[in-house]
Structure formats: C-alpha cells, structure tokens
Symmetry: C2
C-alpha cells in the first residue's frame, strides 16, 4: 500500500488539506479560501495546484494511497455534497468523482463529524474501539456514530444527526434545522450564548456578562466569566452540561457505546461542563448501562483534527472503475 | 448446510419451540411450561426430551444446523441470561453453552426483540433490508436495531433498548426500569391502559370505559371502546400514537433506517394508532429525512413469530470449540 493519504477538510471559510502518514503524522499541510471562486471548477483547479505542490515538496508523488474529504452534508454513499448550505456553489456537487478524476487518486467523502469519528478511531482517543459516539460541540452539534467498527451512514448516507434529537419537546428553542428543541440549540457554542442571554433576561442578579452588549455575547465570554467565578455564567454551563448528559444517557440505550468522545471548542470547558454532564448522565442512565460508558475528550490536536479525520477516510477510498482498469493495465504491462 | 433450525422462545409462562426450514416454514412446534421446574437443569431435561421428540417425528435427526433462542435479557456475546427477571431460576444462566452441550448442536441466544428483528429480516417485512428498526409493542416496548444488515448489540450486548428513551423529561410516568418518562410507560399495552385511567380521572365526559372497574381496564378494552366510537378511548390512541411518532422521528436521526417495523398486540390497532403516529412522525421529522422511512407492520404470523425470530439466529450459530473438534474428527474419519 502507498504510504500517504491526502486529507481535505472543506469548511465554509477555509479548505485545509494535509498529507498524512500511516502513523497519523501530518507531514505537510496548507489551505486555500473556500469562497474565493464562485465556480466549483475554478476552486478545484486551485485545490489541485496547491495540493500537488504540497505532494511534490513532500516527495510523495505516486505515493498517495487515497484522498479523504470531510465536507458539510457530504454523503459517503453518493460521494456528493447534497446540500452545501454554507458553500458558495450550487449543490449537488459530485465531489468524490470530480476530485478523483482531477488527481487520478481514489477519493472518498463524508461529512465533517463522521470524518472526526474516523480520525479519532484511526489516530485518537478511540483507537481500538469498535463502538463509540463522537460528539462535536462547535457552532452546531454534530455526531459520528461507530458500531462494530463501522461508521453508521444509514440507508441514505445521512445517519448520525444527533445534534437534532429533541431535548425540549415543548417550547423548545428554534433550531437552524427549522424545528424546535434540538440538542444543537442548547449544547453548541451558539446555544451557550443563547442560554446566557436568556438567563440575563430572566434573572436579576449582577453578572460580569452584563458589562457586554447582550447580542454580542459568545460562549467564550461565558466561559471567561465563569472562570472568574460569575455565578450566572457558571449556571449556564451547568444547564448546558445537564442537557447534554441527559441526551447522552438517551443515546446509550440505542447503541451502547464504550465511550462518548467530545470534540470542539466547548468540549474544552473542563469541569464547568463535565461535572454537570457526568452527573446528569449517571442520574438518567438506565441501570443496565450505569458506569459503562466513558466520556472522553478528543486526543487529536485541534489544528490537525479536521485534516486527520478526513485523511482517515483516504485509507478506505476505492478506485473508480476507470481507475481500476488503468491500474490493472499498468500492472499487467509491468509483468 | 443442514436444512433445519430449531427456534426456542423462552417466555415467563411458556417456552415455545419449533423446527423451521430455510424458507421460514414452521415444520413442527410444541411448548412446555417455563415455570414448572425450580431447577434450570430439570427444565433443560424436559426441553431436551420434548424438542428431541419433535425432531424425531419430523424426521430431522442430524438435520438441525443450529439452535436459536430468544429469552428476556439474553446476551448475544456471552450466551447467557444475565438478569432473568421473569424467570424462575437464578441468573446468570450460561444458556447457549448448556443447551449446546445438551443437544450437541451449535446454539446462539439473544433477547426477544432482537430475535424478532432477525425473524423479520430473514422471513418477514424486512427481507432485503439492511437498515431498519423493529419496535415490539407488547406488555413493554422492545426494539431490535439492524444497521448494515447486522443486529446492533453494542459494546456489552445490551444495545437496542429503545423502549427506554425518555419521552417525558419532566413529571414522566414511573417505568418498570426504575426511571421516569420512558417510551415504554406510554406506548406499551400497559401504557395505553394507564393513559385511559389518567384520562378518565382528569376528564369528566361520559365514556364506555366508565362501565369497567378502573383498575382492571386493559388496552383491549380501550381498543374496543374506541372502535365503538368512544371519544375518550379514541383520544387515548391519538395520545399514544403521537408520542410514538415523535419518538420514531428522533430515532431516525440516529441510524436513518429504511423502515420501522411494528410488532405486537398494540401494532394491530389500525388507523386508531397509525394515523396519529404518521402525523406526529412527519411533523417532527428533520427535513433531510422527511418521507424516507416507511412504517410497516410485521409480516410474521403472531403464533409463529417468536419461534421464527429465535430460529433465524440458529442459522448464525457457530459450533463451540469442542463441537468443532468433534466435527473435524468425524469428517476426517469419513475421508
């Protein structure tokens, strides 16, 4: 097997890509602006030029086994971005096919949270685990579910949207998905900021957060205030951790994972979040599962995580029929 | 491969067993009383005697490929009944090992709901499906989850307890599992009866159900009253179907199944249950999944379903190391 994979993480702002070896070391990485080109073909040209340069400099020409791509709403089965809400190009985009043809390298795609789960399983906190659930706590809440060592894609490729389980059935907050009461509306970074605004409005006590323009409060502001001992800010984290812990206890009855692995800015809130999370999870856990699932933090460096996650998929990428035919011809010519 | 499997369904009252062919036809079946013997060894003796008689009469001696057993809280990985709450013997019981040694036939065990899912996949409404969720609506609510064509057992063998997702986070009903607000407390046959009692207490309108002793009302009584046009009884089914539909929409974001398959007495309530169920499921479904999952009824005859489900597992049963050694010796002696 060729010794490298190319991981590409397509975000709304930046596209980060890197060359990764079998040990999970990022040999070289770079990035381009996702939104610079209004045509996907132009974007792909720039990506190809820049990634090829990276591959050349790293002396890895003809040594790349596969390309793995993580992108919003990318579908593993079809290889396409089906609904690229945060991307500048019309969807669907047959991403795996176009990239694979451009580079002449087998390519597989999935969404960012599934890529994160694969990265964690291949190089991080879930090494050796066959059953775990990755929860990404960022602007939204994403998830990647692994059962029997396989990412769960569901019958249509869209499974694993645990940010959209309903945690408040009545009078829940409006979620970006158009429904109300989703986990994401409470336990994402934006959810934490929303909770802070709600608490400030409902409660009358003093709080450091009252010094900030209320519509500009971020989860980082809430964290900073809590670390300075601000009770209202601490209560926001207790509220957030409790809802997340209750939700994890509910997920447990589905697939009984060995561990939940948390990733993203909010996951680094330490005991502010983890203490109420563990308490709520234990309290709400069905007896048969009590004490069984660990709650772990990602072991991937944040700067590398997106590329590592995407790259892990590169090891599974299969040649397209056309590529397989070329490879067979080359092999038989060499014999 | 030998042409038959023996399916055994161990219930609290009866143990039903039958010989099943590759087409899913129950060739012969019989039953014994589960609770007759206080010692498991005596129970196993009777089961062996009766099942052996069945096998002989059906001319199937040496033609049984495997034995599959469905039993409460039976664990596929360990082969044991870990906590046989409704059974007369102390647990754990190393069921697969004891039955396999007694019969000299490879044996596998799982819980009843997983057996039902296997039965449906092998012989019923889920033939050809690789991703579906079986929901059994009986005294309790059980579930068997199939992803990528495999039953989900989780890291410990206890996954798939969807009767115990929390559907009422606050002031929920007490559930048999010791927690409150579980799906099972609302959408089982006993849940329907509880809802009827609640409605009768809270509401003042006349109802046919008021002619019955309130503590003896069953889900069947509620069904009969509803079929006679009783509004309160109809509302109980609307309430039940709505909660179940909301819960199915939430399960969808986990594994995106092709279908939910309903089994059990309550599943036969027709449009009384199905109409509010479909409406609540559609209304609460995340956009990306809208209209994708079917809600189907089991296609297994109720009298045969438990045996068929258990028998399906018999096709997967692997010989124990001792059995494999004997088989190898026999094969080499025959050569």
């Amino acid at each position: 097997m060729k010794p490298y994979v190319l991981g590409i993480d397509i975000g709304g702002t930046n596209t980060v890509f890197g060359l990764v070896d079998t040990r999970g070391k990022v040999i070289a990485s770079s990035s381009i602006k996702t939104a610079k080109h209004s045509k996907f073909a132009d974007y792909l040209d720039e990506l190809y030029t820049e990634a090829s340069r990276l591959i050349e400099i790293a002396d890895a020409v003809d040594k790349v086994h596969g390309i793995g791509i993580g992108a919003p709403n990318a579908n593993y089965y079809t290889g396409s971005i089906e609904d690229g809400v945060n991307l500048p190009w019309p969807s669907p985009i047959p991403l795996a096919q176009l990239v694979s043809e451009k580079f002449g390298i087998p390519t597989a795609v999935t969404n960012d949270a599934n890529a994160a789960a694969l990265g964690e399983m291949t190089y991080g906190a879930a090494r050796g685990m066959r059953d775990f659930i990755m929860i990404t706590l960022g602007t939204g809440v994403g998830s990647g579910i692994v059962i029997n060592g396989q990412v769960v894609y569901g019958h249509d490729g869209f499974a694993g949207e645990l940010g959209h389980v309903i945690v408040k059935r009545n009078n829940g907050r409006l979620c970006g998905c158009g429904r109300t009461g989703c986990l994401e509306a409470y336990c994402s970074a934006t959810g934490v900021a929303r909770s802070a605004r709600e608490f400030l409005e409902i409660r009358t006590e003093p709080s450091l957060l009252r010094n900030l323009p209320v519509d500009q409060i971020t989860s980082k502001d809430v964290y900073d205030a809590a670390m300075q001992g601000d009770q209202l800010a601490k209560d926001v984290f207790t509220y957030t951790g409790t809802i997340l812990g209750e939700a994890l206890a509910d997920m447990m009855v589905f697939s009984s994972p060995q561990a939940f692995i948390l990733f993203g800015g909010l996951a680094k809130s330490g005991e502010l979040l983890m203490k109420p999370l563990r308490e709520a999870m234990d309290k709400n856990m069905m007896n048969v599962f009590k004490g069984k699932a660990k709650v772990l933090l990602s072991e991937l460096k944040e700067a590398d995580a997106a590329v590592l996650g995407a790259s892990a998929l590169g090891w599974e990428a299969k040649p397209s029929p056309a590529q397989a035919a070329v490879a067979a011809a080359v092999t038989s010519a060499a014999e």
